[in-house]
């Protein structure tokens, strides 16, 4: 059996592999150096690569991503860490107006090979300003590639693809998955951005999930399998490029679609997926398209309240039962 590694360790491993093969890869962020990052996702990098390649910054999110952008435009492959994805709001101008538009508005003169990594998502009782799932914010911005892996091996493989990408990538590392374990990735493992994974095959309904909602969907599928129904679970892995081919093919087989998102329903990424299926896959559908997303409220602190708001296995199971009964 392959070695087992945590999702958290996979982040550092994925970065380290690329730093070893390409000297132009450098990291910057708050407390990422000797301290190894608040989520320990850069543990070991400072020891291996030193202060010349792993840079501690002040609390200056705009400077962090702005500097990464300038470095990317001039020959480096920077990896900027924004500690919690909620803080992307503090440098949103760079994510929304600068990084994704640079190449286009210069008529193709400038290339921006950078990665913005960030700890994303809820479920840990960190409250309204440290718990959001914001892949959908990035989805609203053409020009950003968006990665959100759910397994350690995908973390490593997608990190390689992200760092090697000549396009800017926002890389979401889910806080709720940090401690989860899985097989590590073989040397040279690269998971191309924009290819969804069929995490579980099934024939009665399709569940499209991302990051933290993948294990929820798999658990729900497992529970239902005991009763008979066979659920296909698709791990989107990326929002851009968005692998609708895999989704539409699956819906073609199952005729039923449930989308499970951690972001709020309003403005959630599932809306984009649903609208494509409601258009291009209209004739494939035998039932309404359902979305389980977070309630349209800020994230509350108490576990008991947070569970009311974000998707849970029970909510996924219930939605699937309704869909199957339709």
């Amino acid at each position: 059996m392959a070695d087992v590694i945590t999702y958290r360790e996979a982040v550092a491993e994925g970065i380290a592999r690329e730093m070893r093969r390409d000297r132009s890869v450098v990291c910057l962020g708050e407390d990422i150096g000797a301290a190894g990052g608040v989520f320990k996702t850069t543990e070991g990098l400072f020891a291996e690569f030193g202060g010349e390649r792993v840079w501690d910054t002040p609390i200056s999110e705009q400077a962090i991503v702005g500097i990464a952008l300038g470095a990317a435009m001039t020959g480096m492959r920077p990896i900027a860490e924004i500690m919690f994805s909620d803080f992307l709001a503090c440098c949103w101008d760079y994510l929304a107006n600068e990084i994704p538009k640079m190449r286009y508005m210069t008529g193709g003169q400038v290339t921006v090979p950078l990665v913005v990594r960030t700890a994303n998502g809820g479920g840990l009782g960190f409250g309204a300003q440290h718990s959001q799932s914001v892949e959908n914010w990035a989805l609203a911005i053409p020009g950003l590639k968006i990665a959100a892996p759910s397994t350690p091996a995908d973390v490593i493989g997608m990190m390689a693809a992200a760092i090697r990408s000549d396009d800017p990538v926002v890389f979401f590392e889910h806080k709720g998955l940090m401690a989860s374990k899985g097989e590590t990735a073989p040397p040279g493992h690269v998971v191309p951005l924009g290819r969804a994974a069929v995490a579980r095959q099934g024939s009665d309904a399709t569940v499209v999930a991302l990051a933290s909602t993948v294990p929820l969907a798999l658990e729900a599928a497992g529970q239902l399998a005991v009763e008979g129904p066979s659920i296909e679970v698709i791990d989107l892995r990326c929002l851009v490029p968005l692998d609708m081919a895999t989704v539409l093919a699956s819906v073609g087989r199952t005729s039923r679609l449930l989308i499970v998102e951690e972001n709020p329903y309003q403005g959630g990424w599932g809306g984009t997926v649903a609208s494509i299926v409601a258009d291009e896959g209209f004739e494939l559908l035998d039932a309404p398209i359902r979305r389980i997303a977070a309630a349209c409220v800020p994230l509350p602190f108490a576990d008991a309240l947070e569970d009311e708001v974000i998707p849970t296995t029970a909510k996924v199971t219930a939605a699937l039962r309704m869909l199957l009964a339709y």
């Binding site: 708050e30 407390d31 150096g33 000797a34 301290a35 608040v38 501690d56 910054t57 002040p58 609390i59 200056s60 999110e61 705009q62 909620d86 803080f87 709001a89 503090c90 840990l124 009782g125 960190f126 409250g127 309204a128 300003q129 440290h130 309003q266 309630a295 349209c296 409220v297 800020p298 509350p300 602190f301 108490a302 576990d303 008991a304 309240l305 947070e306 009311e308 708001v309």
Partner: protein, 338 residues
Amino acid sequence: MTADISASHSAGGVAPDVLLGLYEQMAVIRGTERAAHDLFLAGLVKGTTHLAAGHEAVAVGASAALRPDDYVFATYRGHHHAMARGASPAECLAELMSKGSGVNKAKGGSMHLTKASAGMLGSYAIVGAHLPIAAGAAWSALLRGTGQVAVAFFGDGATNIGAFHEALNLSAVWSLPVLFVCENNLYMEYTPIGSVTAVDHPAADRAPAYRLPAEVIDGNDVVAVADAVGRAAARARAGEGPTVLEAMTYRHFGHSRTDPAKYRPAGELDEWLARDPLEVASARLAVLGVQAEEIAAADERAARVVAEAVAAAKAGPGPDPAEALSDVWADGGATWRT
């Protein structure tokens, strides 16, 4: 108490009974922070905590110098400010313990303690974000002509984020009645502030960039803090605009949760423990002739308050699940569509 301390100051010293009161307030906060730490280790506090043990003099000293209707804005490390402004230890601990009886009904948590009825307008978990917000409360006071001031407390690490700069400039230009009080505890999380900041005093050394007066003060001396805040508040009320205060202090625990703070040089904590705000106040009390027994009695009263608070918080009810879907809108609900 507000009136008392300013009176005693102008009289050239703090009255012993007033200072003993401040000492006791600090002892309550210290005890509550210790309790929060223990409850976290016991698994009864979820999420995260950022304890302010060591910073008590800043909160208690400032509160003593402010009017009850002034506004205070704190960071995620804000338990001391909430309590200094009048939130009870019980309702703060209940919040940390996810109880419906929490000061924010368990919807905020440790990082967002708020007691609006006491002018404690929140704890903010995005570094620096509350500086413009505090300036806004000051602007509002100016527009309404109430003579209130607003105080933003923030860490040394907050001085390098853009919101700091924007808030200070606009407050200066508009001559707003706002105080910017930096609690410089030498670290932003695990990184020494000096290694990521271009000047020695990250707040005070920048005040001239906004043509603002500044003072570096002993943040572990409750009297020094009350004094400086009192003077700055008076200036603000007189229409003379903002002041930057940089209070040197130290956190006794790590940055958050179970951080062992290994990044600190050996001996540093001990040096600061020797200047523990409670010790400093004790020493001042002794000079004023307050007997050791009186101080011990204050300690005992504080310990009793904390013990009762822990018990009350533990006994509190869990949050009502319906709370998850309330309070988004002013009508109390969360309806976003028809």
